[in-house]
Symmetry: C2
Subunit: 474 residues, 2 copies
């Protein structure tokens, strides 16, 4: 037995320590094979939130829920259905039957696949700028450290996580689908799970303090709320003031004096960066008010406003965007800059933008950039145009009367400052606009400089762009 | 009674005659309001093929058929359904309840809405380069003529059109859905109707002389054939040699000595330009071997290789692409050049490309440009990459094992010579690639110069582009 020897163990030294096996796990590359690397992760599953409890499995639930909902909503298209059943257990087992082995094999590979890489499956905390101490007392040191420790679901004081009060981590692994579920929250996680659970047949009530999607364009938020309300109950402007659990499940008392009885509760009221668990303040790093680590344009962690040599952060623990594609881009910049340090080459700035934000709920949302109000507040002479799906042939085919695309455009330059799409395929309809904005193309000539196949849904984008050009010519 | 006076009637003179109320109908604009214009169309419906019997109504049928098929195919996603019914009559009435009034009001507006525009609802034929004679004997002359007379479905000699042998013109207006339908043809029209009819519950057999989609990439064609075969019967390499109609419908004898019994037949073996009906050869215009009118880069009609002053053609009657978005672009060029003639300004060339080609069947297809074989035959040092949907998170969500995106790229420049996508949302996933190719962007930096929201289907495109860059760097 080693007894208390862990306390006196000498430090283990690496060339590079990567904290978090999400996007950070992509950093070890052949170019870095000369480095002695430790990957540190204490997650329930290996591979980060996106793979195990986030983007990827949710979309595998979204699809069957969509199929069922599309049939239910297709009466207006002339389709009627008899009994329609989707098995929670079958989908769950299919999803995790696929995800879990990927996670496990990724872990096994890191465990034993590469001689230069060690895996540390322990909780760690910073004990100096370049030093970590593990829960068991191991001391790890490296000249280069990458902090990709991610974020975790916030807990509600009145409803601590437990068997029937769960976060998105457990939301897809439920033994069976509860009949009545409260989903607390107004952002993407709450919206996606409300759609999934209701699609699978649960009676869902979404509760939120403020209107849903408060950060998005008002019309997007309002349309989401009215469309979502066809499939689940949405109750906003309320907080849970008290929760009691009895034989028939949870009784939630709300701030408007109403109560609601449910079998289970998904708490999706935001995520907090894991900097506290890593005790990054102990290393003296700079932090934002919300706990995120401050980084410079090179993803270097700041301390007293100055970059700490060799220490980088990426993803949710430092980014204002809790998005996997942003974490991946951060990781690419970090990987490039680790190599640059090795080679004494200049560092690369992370300048990529704009950042698309997508919601795979019912309806779907795809947006980037500013709302009109934000653009004007930022001093732009901006205007917005709105193209309804229903004004295009594809919208006719869908019998769609609510979906739309809004563009926010700078008048004198024609620059796309923002795009806001709600409706079927919004996340992919956004891409031509992301591409234009990313490569400096304005709205001038963008619609007429390329073919848009008729009568595809992309005509919605084409027509929005034409409207923007007309507005500029006024 | 006017008796035979039509024969001796004097010519009516216009500033501009537009033949065909499809894309040509968009040409009259405020800028041309000083011209005395005749619009000539003898179509069953006003507004051209796309609106009345083409792209627009088909997509309104495609959608409910998709909903039904998605449920049938969703067993692999964990969805099971009881009786599912889609009413042909309800969809048909919804579709044409929407289309026909648009067509009628478009006609009424042209009939009486503008003092400078007359509508001539007669068959016409060219009797000189700038002269038309109507079926009733009216003689119409104009210094400017736009020929947008479109195309019509080809007939099969062995199966002339009739009550139960129909073209796409009638394919959506059927009183009721026949139980057993033969769809003859291997292109987009046959593919879309085979998917619609089978989605609505008919027993469909698609027959074609050659493999389906012979003009497309071989893998696209093969994948379409195998995927389509899940929903309807596909029998290629055969011709109908004899057809007899008895009490139990049609018995079609095929060239492989087999026979097939069906209630009705859709003949979709291609479309021929209406130049013969307009007797454009009588005006001495130049024609392609397939009957299309030859035009120059300004859409001016050629006669002995020289443009005929003031005579333009657009759309199916002159274009190698029988596509509405191409006809619309042709019409914009013609409109611009009509104005240029008025103003003695230089003409505009029609240089827009590449041309996307989309199929809204099951599965969907979206392609542009060259296959690898075509690119190499054209002398390019080209390669292709293939990204399967199944290699992305979205593909996992779909449990997709057959869909893919192929890119054909010029090695030394990185230029996108072609893109070939088959699978869900192919027509809209194509757009970022069309945009890049249209604006001269190569594959270099295209994936990493923009965000692709995770885990949207657009990651298929992102990954294909990354593969192309890797291949160039090899």
């Amino acid at each position: 037995m080693t007894g208390n020897t862990t306390q006196t163990q000498s430090a283990e030294t690496f060339d590079l320590i990567i904290i978090g096996a999400g996007s950070g796990n992509s950093i070890p590359s052949p170019a870095l094979s000369g480095l002695k690397i430790a990957i540190v992760d204490d997650g329930r599953w290996f591979g980060g939130t996106c793979l195990n409890a986030g983007c990827i499995p949710t979309k595998m639930f979204v699809r069957p829920a969509d199929v069922v909902r599309n049939v239910r909503e297709a009466q207006r298209l002339g389709v009627s259905s008899g009994d329609l059943d989707v098995s929670w257990e079958a989908v769950r087992d299919r999803v995790f039957g696929r995800i879990d082995p990927i996670s496990a094999s990724g872990e096994a590979y890191r465990e034993s696949g590469e001689p230069n890489i060690s895996l540390v499956r322990e909780t760690v905390r910073f004990t100096d700028t370049h030093e970590l101490t593990t829960a068991s007392g191991r001391v790890l040191r490296a000249a280069k450290i990458v902090i990709g420790g991610g974020s975790r679901a916030r807990e509600l004081e009145v409803l601590p996580f437990g068997d029937t009060v769960f976060s998105s981590d457990d939301a897809m692994r439920l033994e069976s689908l509860p009949n009545r579920i409260a989903v607390i929250g107004g952002g993407v996680v709450a919206a996606e799970f409300a759609a999934i659970y209701s699609g699978f047949g649960a009676e869902v009530t979404q509760l939120n303090r403020s209107p849903l999607f408060r950060g998005l364009d008002d019309d997007i938020a309002a349309t989401f709320t009215s469309a979502g309300s066809r499939n689940w109950r949405i109750h906003t402007g309320v907080e849970v003031t008290e929760a009691s659990h009895g034989e028939s499940g949870w009784t939630l008392s709300l701030s408007d004096a109403s109560t609601i009885d449910v079998d289970a509760v998904l708490v999706a009221v935001g995520r907090q960066p894991n900097s506290d668990r890593l005790d990054t303040p102990a290393a003296g790093f700079d932090h934002h008010d919300d706990g995120r680590i401050q980084v410079d344009a090179y993803q270097q962690v700041l301390r007293n406003g100055e970059p700490v040599e060799g220490v980088f952060a990426l993803g949710d623990i430092s980014s204002p965007h809790q998005l996997k594609h942003v974490a991946n881009q951060d990781a690419r910049v970090v990987a490039s800059n680790l190599l640059a340090l090795e080679q004494d080459a200049p560092l690369t700035e992370n300048t990529l933008g704009p950042v698309p934000y997508t919601v795979f709920s019912a309806p779907e949302i795809g947006v980037f950039g500013s709302t009109l109000e934000e653009a004007q507040r930022d001093g732009h002479d901006a205007f917005e145009v709105r193209q309804d799906y229903g004004g295009t042939a594809w919208g006719w085919a869908l019998e769609d009367e609510e979906s739309f695309c809004k563009l926010v455009v700078e008048r004198d330059t024609g620059k796309l400052l923002g795009a806001h799409i709600i409706g079927p395929d919004a996340p992919i309809l956004l891409q031509p606009l992301v591409q234009a904005a990313s490569f400096g193309q304005t709205v001038h000539g963008l619609a007429r400089g390329q073919y848009w196949p008729h009568p595809a849904a992309t005509e919605i984008i084409e027509n929005a762009l034409l409207q923007a050009e007309e507005e500029i010519q006024k």
